[in-house]
């Protein structure tokens, strides 16, 4: 295993939006294959901007990103987009086709798969998220939790190596959140989970990274990161009232 490349390797990533607002400031971090990492940080810290870089939706301005050892550049953008599955914060932005079936098939079709292969991918991905019954529904008639699961299926259908989820539990009811957490636990993929839901981070991700003002300000085992209340407060994070990470069995690494 000694020569296995990092699943994701970000080095000195710097990015400003066209209006001059600097979002990422020489950010560096790596994720090992199979690792599940929580990306924490206040609003506006640059978490989503980082995520949009990971599969090349935003163009690199400075720094470098490698996915499984492949650098992100113009030439291998389509390969990167297959390898990195991005689940957006708002499922309505992600589900844009008239039916769930076509939406899940959209990625595989772009990969140039045959129609039989597309159908197989659709079935398999919807099975994985327990949403096969929705296959002929239109996405906007699904509930929030159902949309989120289908959004994950659209990405799973591309057989990614890395799953990047932007606030996967925001706006879900407690039961929808539970279903989603169980689903993410069941997926054996490298995962990068952007979230404000600290108990979710503790449950799913052995490791947490805090990003603030475009830089990594903390990186360590989730129980330790969450136990440091001063660190959390300094970056506008807070555990839910009465929640104690120390009292909870730690996730298996």
């Amino acid at each position: 295993m000694h020569s296995t490349p990092e699943s994701v390797a970000v080095e000195d990533l710097t990015f400003s939006y066209p209006n001059g607002h600097a979002v990422l400031d020489q950010l560096s971090m790596t994720v090992k294959p199979g690792e599940k990492v929580a990306l924490l940080g206040p609003n506006g810290a640059g978490k989503t901007t980082l995520a949009l870089h990971l599969n090349g939706v935003l163009e690199l301005q400075a720094g470098s990103i490698k996915v499984n050892g492949i650098p992100i550049n113009e030439d291998n953008l389509s390969e990167i987009r297959r390898r990195v599955g991005m689940v957006f914060q708002n499922a309505d932005d992600q589900l844009f086709m008239p039916t769930v079936r076509e939406d899940v098939a959209f990625g595989p079709a772009n990969l140039g798969l045959t129609k039989e292969q597309q159908a197989e991918r659709v079935r398999e991905a919807l099975d994985a998220v327990d949403a096969i019954d929705f296959v002929d529904r239109t996405p906007h008639h699904l509930s929030g939790g159902e949309k989120r699961r289908v959004a994950i299926a659209t990405v799973l259908a591309m057989h990614p190596d890395v799953l990047v989820l932007d606030e996967p539990t925001s706006g879900l009811d407690p039961f929808g959140r539970r279903e989603l957490a169980n689903l993410l636990k069941s997926l054996d993929l490298t995962q990068l989970v952007i979230t404000h839901d600290l108990p979710l981070a503790l449950e799913l991700c052995p490791r947490s990274v805090i990003i603030s003002n475009g830089r990594v300000v903390a990186d360590g085992p989730t129980p330790e990161v969450l136990a440091d209340s001063q660190l959390l407060a300094a970056h506008r994070l807070e555990l839910p009232y009465g929640f104690s990470p120390a009292a909870i069995a730690q996730p298996e690494p």
């Binding site: 599969n55 987009r81 297959r82 991005m86 959209f106 990625g107 008639h141 591309m158």
Partner: protein, 252 residues
């Protein structure tokens, strides 16, 4: 919340439901063409066409009441057409003591009969075909991809935008906005601007999501049942009837 399109579809598995959408679109279109070129004096041709529409609607599963309600879509045209006999010139006839132009009565009949038959054909199409299938049908008919995509996205996002507008309206009402006069319309105009910006930004995010799944600028080909010969023949039958009736009427 289901959008208006949801109410148009009659769930079912009738022979008309099972036809390929592209064949149905062509059939409905040809039928409408046939109806529109039929001379207005060929009342018998309109009557036969009406039988075709009624039969097709029956097979699609329309109940009488439902059909009547949906035909209300032609009312604006009918309302206008009813005035023609009153204002048109030429020879007059007396109905209930009111002088009506004979030429105007024919014009009025022409508009009403054609609008009703055309609407009937659309109702058969809309009642038996889910919108996603109509979109696919357009694609298979080689309608330019850009237009098909626009229709598809409109269908997908129209409900969301309408819901968003409703939320904005509720938020305005909740803060005491109660527009009654034209000069109170400014908040509506500005919120329309805000809606436009929000929709535009959503468009950018959707485009980002498409890129993330490997979109290269053209919509990929996806799997669907192609129209069979019998689909084409059955659908074309409706068009063929109206067209041949029109031809017959034109020749006689």
């Amino acid at each position: 919340m289901a959008g208006a399109h949801q109410h148009l579809l009659l769930p079912g598995t009738s022979p008309i439901h099972r036809l390929a959408p592209e064949a149905k679109i062509v059939g409905a279109f040809l039928f409408a063409v046939g109806v529109s070129i039929t001379p207005r004096t060929a009342v018998w041709a309109f009557a036969l066409n009406a039988v075709v529409v009624a039969l097709a609607m029956r097979i699609t599963g329309y109940r009488v009441r439902q059909a009547v309600v949906r035909f209300a879509a032609v009312l604006p045209f009918v309302g206008f057409a009813l005035f023609i006999p009153l204002i048109a010139g030429g020879d007059q006839t007396q109905v209930l003591g009111i002088g009506l132009s004979i030429e105007g009565l024919w014009a009025s009949w022409n508009v009403i009969a054609k609008a009703t038959l055309g609407t009937g054909a659309s109702l058969v199409l809309a009642g038996s075909t889910p919108i996603p299938d109509v979109v696919r049908g357009l694609g298979r008919l080689r309608v330019p991809t850009v237009i098909v995509s626009i229709v598809a996205f409109m269908f997908r996002y129209l409900d969301l935008i309408v819901e968003e507008m409703a939320r904005v309206r509720v938020a305005m009402t909740a803060r005491g906005h109660d527009p009654r006069w034209l000069w109170q319309a400014k908040p509506i105009a500005t919120s329309a601007g805000a809606m436009f910006v929000r929709s535009y930004e959503r468009g950018e995010r959707v485009h980002g999501a498409m890129l993330a799944r490997g979109f290269t600028g053209t919509m990929p080909q996806m799997d669907h049942r192609a129209a069979t010969l019998s689909d084409w023949l059955l659908s074309a039958a409706a068009g063929a009837i109206s067209l041949s009736l029109a031809t017959l009427a034109l020749l006689t």
